[in-house]
Symmetry: C2
Subunit: 418 residues, 2 copies
């Protein structure tokens, strides 16, 4: 197979299909989503068998346990995919929404209409459920999608592609509205990210290395975050109970997520009061603490935090702790070492909290809330294709709106320009 030719043909088909999907009625798009869900239900055994072949090949190739876990399509995960399709069908259609329609002095009425982006390329690793998640969000937002999953999941992804094709056909939508790349050749990724004539935006999901490579080489906009080095700052005027609850939740609710706190900043004036109690709670849960010198003066059991620690996304039961003299130092630390993902201040002081909200340059900035809330569902977007730490096009959790743009509409009554 000539990968360049193959990807260009997917691209051309996607571009053509994107016009039909952009025009498709809400009813047809929802019908397709529900028909995909039905096809998955009907082909549950086929899907599991395909996944078992992936799993076997993975074991033969010595994949590690974490990867095998992500690869597996359990009945629970299949149920979640089916439920997800129903949820996306139930979301309001973003396409065609007209907002801000206002009369201008010339007599024309000017507003904005939400329109699909066109063709979206999604590149992800070995979780086959992402295939359905990405397909459903692109379809609902009126975009054509080209999906490139990890080669470890190729059999399951191809089986899911069959369900998607059947669902699209049932609703009378073109098959090329969602295409799953059939080849495991890595060159396919290189092609996908360098065909601006066919692909409008790339959403990569996966490890930092993959995303860095894609961002560097892509010829179109990439909606992405590289890592989540999130902070909680316990201010001098923090409510102690809120501070402790949030610091525990932000670190220990889940270790492997991008909105998990990795560094705790504490105002030096309250550290002696709060840190011992926090440390004892972390010790009970089994979180390893690494502190700056001032922290270790209070918590003698904490390990030494190096410069490297402030840059680290542990994704593990490890927390770095730093004492700061004031909020300015906290903000400076966050803007310098953080990844512009999610950062929270715990404070009852109005002026400080307001300044933190304004001056921290992150995609989510919080007051008295756990960083774990940074998520499309928790924010009410209904779903999420990813989180962007960039500022171009989308910032923060990206839902259906983030996969659209807005064109201007002008309603006139024969007006001409003077």
């Amino acid at each position: 197979m000539d990968v360049t030719e193959y990807m260009k043909s997917l691209g051309g088909n996607a571009r053509k299909a994107s016009r039909a999907v952009a025009r498709a009625s809400t009813q047809d798009k929802n019908a397709a989503l529900l028909a995909i869900a039905d096809a998955i239900t009907a082909q549950r055994d086929t899907l599991k068998a395909a996944n078992q072949r992936d799993m076997q090949r993975g074991r033969d190739n010595g994949l590690d346990a974490a990867l095998l876990d992500r690869l597996e399509l359990t009945d629970d995960r299949i149920d979640t995919m089916i439920e997800g399709l129903h949820q996306v069908a139930a979301l309001p259609d973003p396409v065609g929404e007209i907002t801000d329609l206002k009369y201008r002095p010339s007599g024309i009425q000017v507003g904005k209409m939400r329109v699909p982006l066109g063709v979206i390329g999604i590149i992800y690793e070995s979780r086959p459920n992402v295939t359905i998640e990405a397909a459903s969000l692109c379809l609902k937002s009126g975009n054509a999608a080209i999906l490139r999953g990890g080669s470890e999941a190729i059999e399951a992804n191809q089986a899911l592609a069959v369900c998607i094709t059947q669902g699209l056909a049932a609703a009378g939508l073109p098959a090329a509205a969602v295409q799953v790349v059939e080849t495991t050749d890595r060159a396919a990724v290189g092609e996908l990210i360098t065909m601006p004539e066919y692909v409008d935006v790339i959403v990569p999901r996966g490890g930092k290395g993959l995303i860095e490579r894609i961002s560097r080489d892509a010829k179109v906009t990439v909606i992405k975050h590289l890592d989540g080095i999130c902070h909680v700052y316990i201010d001098q005027f923090a409510d102690k109970t809120k501070a402790i609850n949030i610091a525990i939740n932000a670190k220990t609710h889940r270790y492997g997520t991008c909105n998990t706190m990795e560094t705790l900043l504490v105002h030096q004036a309250v550290a002696a009061e709060i840190l011992p109690q926090l440390a004892s709670a972390y010790a009970d849960i089994g979180v390893e603490l690494r502190g700056c010198e001032a922290t270790r003066a209070i918590l003698s059991d904490a390990l030494v935090a190096s410069e490297e620690d402030w840059h680290s996304e542990y994704l593990a039961p490890i927390l770095s702790i730093k004492l700061v003299d004031d909020m300015d130092q906290a903000i400076e630390h966050i803007n310098h070492y953080g990844s512009h993902h999610t950062d929270s201040i715990i404070s009852e002081n109005y002026t400080l909290a307001r300044r933190f909200l304004t001056e921290v340059d992150s995609s989510s900035v919080m007051i008295n809330a756990s960083t774990r809330f940074a998520d499309g569902f928790e924010y009410g977007l209904g779903a999420e294709i990813g989180i962007s730490t960039d500022k171009i096009h989308a910032r923060g959790p990206v839902g259906l709106d983030g996969l659209t743009s807005q064109k201007y509409v002008v309603l006139g009554n024969g007006e001409v320009r003077n």
Copy 2:
């Protein structure tokens, strides 16, 4: 001078300054804008002398009359720059605006806060007034700017840079908030568009060739339109008076603007009635007509339109005319030959007009209004840095909002995630 080193130093300075501008109060930003206006007023003679040196060099180098005209800083144009600075100062500050703040079931309140993009690179040709226009919009939207004007205008641009620096200093803002590139070396553009570590977005203003080159080579998002091939479609159900007024205005109000109509599409059922009257009006004004075969059957004086004509942005008193069998054919023509800039239908039919609005894939789509309205001022944006025909980040006229992004803000009361 080592251009790479020089541009990287501008970039580093801009990145640093961007943090200060992002934080700057509305009052300080406005004070800077008004102080720049005062400096221009005080240095009017110096500016005109610098411009005269540019003009002399231009004449010596054989620049054509149109270019020399754009290059000239007349008293009128200086007045317009000063007025523009006052207008931008009077616009509402987009930065910090919080919208959509809503309670979620978890108890947290989630909203969006408007934030600057960071550093904006502007590349333009030989109109020195763009220096002030671009500087003022970037500054008001809280961004740092690096401005690269055409080498023909270097003396005037350097003189304007002095005014900008004085204005920034008067308001206590860093000098690097707005930097005007001092070298005329073309390599400076290549550097500016390939330093994503320092520059977040590029806005090119100029000819199609320049913009194509920049888009191809840039390593950051480019907000741009390549050309304006705008259409008016006179539908079967058009009001004849509106149709004629708009078709005349859209073509003849100004020939050189990107929102000028270049192709007129007419439903075959009304062509015989409308075209002769239109043709006579165009003839009075001196517009050359080029038609398809069916058009020429009605307008025997019209020249033959070739395939090339449907692709042409004339920017001149020339109009191509094509008859269509129905609206579908009109939409197909527009989406195929147009430049996704601005297209208008003239119709009294609700269902057809509504479909046109939805299905035409352009940054501005109009009903019964002249394409000449596609403009930041006419749309109520207060100002415009350019018009985008892309869908990523911004589409249509780009005002202050288009130079910003939105971060999520979360206001809590100690909530943790379950």
